[in-house]
């Protein structure tokens, strides 16, 4: 069995996503998210090194700086400001949630051939992509805190980024960059809205937002 750097890094990213399902502490979730995103930046670097395309290195730098360091730090700062160290109201017990995460990993494995571009030789990574997307969605559905939902969204976004990296010869640079910056903008706005929610409702449990039914 020969594993390339890309294989190892994307497997690491997928395993971190499974681990994140088992955490209820926001800080450990954010740390995992940061490492996971750094792995993706590592994949970009390794592709850039082997193909000699410098724009991968630039992209890796931007992702590392914004998505791996900037956004988790901003979210950690928000969590600290709101005094919510953990997601107390996880709808699924963390252990069970991690088990589901493993299930989604397996589901991703079975879906990999459906989504892979055979010519690229990264069939496993297509499965990891699906795992990240599924786990991101599961995190968004089963967590109650506004910040946890943003974390789930970022995992989902990472999955899409992984697919673009491993299954294509590089998306147009402008689109990749714009995606990173819009994620940053989205997270900032979501952070502000979360702060408003905590001030207005005196909680950040989004499942309790149910004034608008009729």
């Amino acid at each position: 069995m020969n594993f390339s750097t890309i294989d190892l890094l994307s497997a690491g990213a997928a395993l971190l996503a499974v681990m994140m399902c088992g955490f209820s502490g926001l800080y450990s979730q954010l740390r995992s998210l940061a490492v996971q995103t750094a792995f993706l930046a590592g994949i970009a670097i390794s592709i850039g090194m082997s193909s000699g395309a410098t724009h991968y290195l630039v992209l890796a730098g931007v992702v590392l700086l914004i998505k791996s360091i900037g956004i988790p730090m901003f979210l950690a700062w928000s969590a600290k400001r709101l005094e919510i160290p953990r997601d107390a109201g996880v709808m699924l017990p963390p252990a069970l949630s991690a088990l589901f995460g493993v299930g989604l990993l397996v589901a991703g494995y079975f879906l990999s051939s459906q989504f892979a571009v055979p010519k690229m030789g990264n069939i496993g990574e297509a499965g990891m992509t699906m795992t990240l997307i599924f786990i991101g969605m599961m995190l968004m559905i089963t967590r109650r805190l506004a910040i946890s939902q943003v974390i789930g969204f970022l995992v989902l976004e990472n999955g899409i980024f992984l697919y673009g990296l491993t299954q294509t010869h590089g998306m147009p640079m402008l689109v990749e960059m714009a995606a990173v910056f819009e994620v940053l903008m989205g997270v900032m706005i979501a952070g502000l809205v979360t702060y408003r929610i905590s001030r207005t409702f005196e909680h950040v449990d989004v499942t309790h937002l149910r004034g608008l039914r009729h």
């Binding site: 571009v117 697919y163 402008l174 689109v175 995606a179 809205v193």
Partner: protein, 482 residues
């Protein structure tokens, strides 16, 4: 490129003016005048688009589709700004006291939001289109939160999170469409004209996946059932000029995105998938929305659900590949819905409530408002002689000729229920005893912008003839610049 700069000048100017809080007293009127001036500017694009000459600059082009929807978007924005000139100062003085900076932020954001929507429409590169679409979400979220109450906060959160996830799926779909070109020698592109150049080299499996994810993503943004959950909240809690722009122009942008991607998918030989997915989605959306319209307690939520219904009709039009009808109905729906949201904003301000059980006697309170609401209500329910009747009729005709009999029957049932539901609600608002109003001075001038829109809708209803439909079809079939 000149044309692109030309159309973005005025929205940009409004945005810049919003950075000066000292402008707060003059800005509402100024923005209304500026947006009215924007209408002739945008209309100049139509002759060129009809001639088939498409000015292009990188991934942007003003083709027929873009030109037509730019006109619709501008009309909606101009009417919204005209109403905002009355509504915003009045609201500030009464129920929503706010600082100058806050009001100016509204105008800055509206200008940027309009620019983002323009960018969606003129993008012929799927990547740029995605960027602009995401930008519309981020830029309109602060507008929805303008009133700063708990309800608008909840609506903003739902809108932000659901549309962000939706738009993330659209990104995945876009990446899949890019990956589907792995067989193309130069590695593929996101430019629509490049994608359809080599239909034989495209991986059909990934193309289909890409279409499904794009439909899921942009469909969330458009409010196709059952992805419409955020829509009634956002549209009802936003200030009324913003509601009008969300409903009258942003939904169109999402549908234009779906239309362009459907064209790409059809051109690469997967047209049957477009029809298989969009026709049932559209028909179910119409029926579901019509059922939800029956039990409504809130005036603006009712119009939001009515938007979902019309999105269903437009999705159906894309599904059966009737570009001309899609364009015509989008135009008619936007006019009527904008008029209704603007009137509802005025009613909300005057009555101090938008609860349907408390609204009555509008005709006695102000004949102009009552008449305008009746007219716009008839138009949105699709009764003759308004444009919506013609476009719905043509849509049903095309649905049956394409052999989608079941979908056609479902839509007819949905339209019938909608008509009864909307007429029932309007009947209660317009007639009945004279109400006690929150603000005594009811100004008929507030109904002018909605009545103007309805006059255009009426003309559009009479103007439709085979040559006009041919022109529209020509306009939209120029949607893929060669």
């Amino acid at each position: 490129m000149n044309q692109l700069l030309l159309i973005s000048a005025i929205p940009l100017l409004i945005t810049l003016l919003g950075f000066f809080p000292r402008m707060a007293r003059k800005l509402p009127k100024l923005a209304a005048v500026l947006m009215a001036l924007q209408i002739p500017v945008v209309l100049t694009l139509i002759p060129a688009a009809l001639n088939g000459s498409v000015p292009m600059w990188r991934g942007f082009a003003i083709d027929g589709t873009a030109a037509a929807f730019l006109v619709i978007t501008t009309l909606v924005a101009a009417a919204a700004m005209a109403q905002a000139a009355f509504l915003m100062p009045a609201e500030r003085a009464a129920e929503h006291p706010s600082s100058d900076g806050h009001l100016c932020m509204f105008y800055s954001m509206t200008g940027l939001f309009l620019l983002a929507m323009y960018t969606v429409l003129v993008s012929v590169n799927l990547g740029y289109m995605w960027i602009a679409m995401e930008a519309t979400t981020l830029l309109s979220a602060p507008l929805i939160y303008y009133h700063r109450g708990p309800r608008s906060l909840e609506a903003t959160w739902k809108y932000l999170i659901l549309c962000s996830v939706g738009i993330a799926f659209a990104l995945f779909g876009t990446v899949l469409i890019f990956a589907a070109q792995h067989g193309v020698h130069d590695g593929g592109s996101l430019l629509i004209s490049k994608i359809i150049e080599h239909p034989g080299d495209i991986d059909p499996r990934l193309m289909r996946m890409g279409f499904i994810f794009c439909l899921l993503g942009y469909g969330t943004k458009a409010g196709i059932f059952p992805l419409h959950n955020w829509l009634p909240d956002a549209h009802s809690e936003a200030p009324s000029p913003t509601s009008a722009m969300l409903s009258g122009s942003l939904l169109n942008c999402a549908l234009v995105a779906i239309w362009r991607i459907s064209q790409v998918v059809t051109a690469t030989g997967q047209g049957h998938l477009v029809q298989q997915l969009l026709v049932p989605a559209g028909a179910i959306t119409v029926l579901a929305a019509s059922i939800m319209l029956i039990r409504q307690h809130d005036l603006k939520r009712m119009w939001a659900y009515s938007s979902v219904e019309h999105i269903g009709l437009l999705t159906l039009a894309i599904g059966i590949n009737s570009g001309g009808v899609f364009m015509l109905h989008a135009f008619n729906h936007s006019l009527a819905k904008t008029a209704l949201f603007l009137l509802s904003g005025a009613i909300l301000h005057q009555y101090g409530t938008k609860s349907l059980s408390k609204l009555a006697g509008l005709l006695k309170a102000s004949p102009a408002w009552g008449a305008a609401l009746c007219i716009a209500g008839f138009a949105i329910a699709g009764s003759p002689p308004f444009g919506t009747f013609i476009s719905e009729w043509l849509l049903l005709r095309d649905t049956f000729t394409k052999g989608e009999v079941f979908a056609g029957v479902v839509v007819i049932i949905g339209l019938a229920i909608t008509f009864i539901a909307i007429m029932g609600h309007i009947n209660k608002i317009v007639f009945g005893v004279k109400p006690t109003l929150a603000h005594k001075d009811i100004n008929p001038a507030w109904a002018y912008a909605p009545l103007g829109l309805m006059a255009i809708s009426l003309v559009a209803g009479f103007a439709v003839s085979p040559p006009v439909m041919n022109a529209l079809t020509m306009l939209i079939s120029g949607g893929l610049p060669q």
